[in-house]
Amino acid sequence: MRSQLAGILLAVAMVWPGVCAAADIRLVTADGAITEIVYRLGLESLLVGVDTTSGFPEAIAALPKVGYLRALPFEGVLALQPDMLITSEQAAPQKNLERLSKAGVQVEILPSAWSSEASLHRVQTVGGLLGKEAEARALVADLQARIDTLHRSAEARGYRPKVLFVLAAGNHSVMLAGKNTAAEALLDEVNADIAFADLEGYKPASREAILASQPDAIVIAESVPGQFNIDNWPELQLLDAWKSGHRLQADSMLLLGFGPRLVDAMAAVNEVLPGRQGVANR
């Protein structure tokens, strides 16, 4: 404990000039998870604009929106006169990123993080970019500890539950998550498997496939919280997992963003996974 504190103090001392430098830069973030990191590091005052995937925390609503991560406008971003743009590798079009860089904006493109390890690494990277390495390290340590606890709890279950993961953008675009998705990665973090492991990516939901899937738990990720109306999907309600309450309905940015709230997402999912007992009783 004492050595940890000393480490933090040392780190703070080392990066102190950096913190001063960071204090007056103008920052634009384009990726909800990265915006969350900036907030968790207490640097929200640097933000002059965010993209439309940045919806948390709600304080962001007042900031100018530069549009969608995958269609970043050159002039729109430049007009905010940012010193730095931090975004993920999902950002597009490439040409506009290059132009911003040419116009003197420091453009940082971070790799997508689809594991707890990569997610924490990204926190550290953002901290480094903004001169808050020590704060980032502290945040990472805190998150790491909670994640470790969750990992142990999930391991203790002794089996990998099968989870039906639904991605809902309104009632009509309802997709089932398959392999090679952030959904699969999230489930893996809590020692669980995706129900439709033979699907690649997200595919339109087949009502019959839902009925036949017999999952141990159901997770519904909503792109707009509260938008998914379960009454339109009676098949889900017919599943044992639904009836027995092994179900979760939450914001897709929380569940799939792999930001600082990853641990909350893991906890929420882990909560609804049945232990061995629950499975045996069915």
């Binding site: 995958r70 406008p73 002039e75 506009n96």
Partner: protein, 345 residues
């Protein structure tokens, strides 16, 4: 404004007016945007003064100028291609989308987006950054050729068959797009959606270098079609009776549309309604003669698209609306109102 005895606008004053409007729209377009550029800034950039702010210079020279030029060219070409198809098919509702050119071009582009990492890896390696635009252009041109092959029997091309071929090609291209959409990853799907909506948000000199030669060629060939297309309005057989080589006229028209629409879709995605609304407006105001319709459509189409794009990039600034969406928002209700008002199509 003076009206002719037929209740139309007089062509010369109309040309002056539209030309002035086009010029005004051009000035507004290059001087407006999310990034603040004053007229003084622009003048300094144009004058090449060393005092010019390098960022202002970049915004004006590398972003707004190519975007304005590309927008104008795409609008002009789409409107002219719409007018040519409408004349050829003798149907005021014919549209570049109709014979499947747009669908073919977009299918090829979507194939590159979705299959670029797997089956079409070689294509990506070969074409690099240009993979998407070149594919869209090839797809559009091949679709015109395909429609031509299907419809052309023993040297004669029945327009009805060509239309049916277009419907079939649209259906097949639509199915192909649907299938690719199904296999697309989440990420590919989203970039695909934005591409199919049509956008000038990435426009640069490289897009102009790629698209402009084809589009300019289409615009240069089109006037040759004006008189024969007038004859087409009386009927396909009348074209021959009036002394034009019907099949040659049709071939040139198809080449013009293939070049123009293929290149336009390649550089800006799917932008609808320009080809439909603009020639219609011109005909209502100035008559159906193609010697009037073609040049006026080019001017009005370019002006309209640039105006819509200027609006699209300030209305939700600092974000931008996709221009395709913008055109649909403006063009859709407008065209419906037009249909309800005129009744006679």
């Amino acid at each position: 404004m003076m009206l002719t005895p037929a209740g139309r606008l007089d062509a010369k004053p109309a040309l002056l007016t539209l030309g002035s409007v086009a010029l005004a729209v051009a000035l507004v377009s290059v001087s407006s945007g999310a990034y603040p550029l004053s007229v003084a800034d622009i003048l300094r950039v144009i004058a090449g003064k060393e005092a010019a702010d390098p960022v202002a210079s970049m915004v004006f020279l590398e972003v707004r100028m190519p975007r304005f030029l590309l927008g104008f060219l795409v609008g002009a070409v789409l409107a002219v291609c719409g007018a040519v198809l409408q004349g050829l098919f003798r149907n005021p509702l014919a549209d570049p989308g109709l014979i499947g050119v747009s669908a073919g071009a977009s299918l090829a582009a979507i194939a590159v987006i979705v299959l670029g990492n797997t089956w079409l890896g070689g294509w990506l390696a070969l074409t690099g950054d240009w993979a998407l635009p070149i594919a869209a252009f090839i797809g559009g041109s091949l679709t015109v050729l395909l429609a031509w092959r299907i419809a052309n029997r023993s040297g004669q091309t029945a327009v009805a068959t060509l239309l049916l071929a277009g419907i079939a090609i649209n259906a097949v291209a639509g199915a192909g797009t649907g299938l690719l959409t199904f296999y697309a990853s989440d990420e590919e799907l989203r970039s695909l959606t934005f591409w199919t909506m049509g956008s000038l948000g990435h426009a640069g000199w490289d897009d102009l270098v790629l698209g402009a030669p084809f589009m300019v060629l289409a615009l240069v060939l089109a006037p040759w079609l004006a008189r024969p297309l007038d004859a087409f309005l009386l009927g396909e057989s009348v074209v021959g009776h009036l002394g034009y080589r019907t099949d040659t006229v049709k071939k040139v028209a198809i080449v013009v549309v293939g070049l123009g629409v293929g290149a336009a879709v390649a550089v800006s995605g799917l932008i609808g309604f320009v080809g439909l609304v603009v020639p219609h407006l011109v005909r209502q105001a100035l008559g159906a003669s193609h010697r009037i319709v073609l040049p006026f459509s080019a001017l009005l189409g370019g002006t309209l698209l640039v105006a819509a794009d200027s609006l699209a990039r300030v209305v939700v600034a600092p974000a931008e609306l996709p221009i395709g969406l913008m055109m649909a928002l403006i063009g859709g209700p407008f065209f419906l109102a037009l249909l309800l008002r005129t009744r006679v199509m």
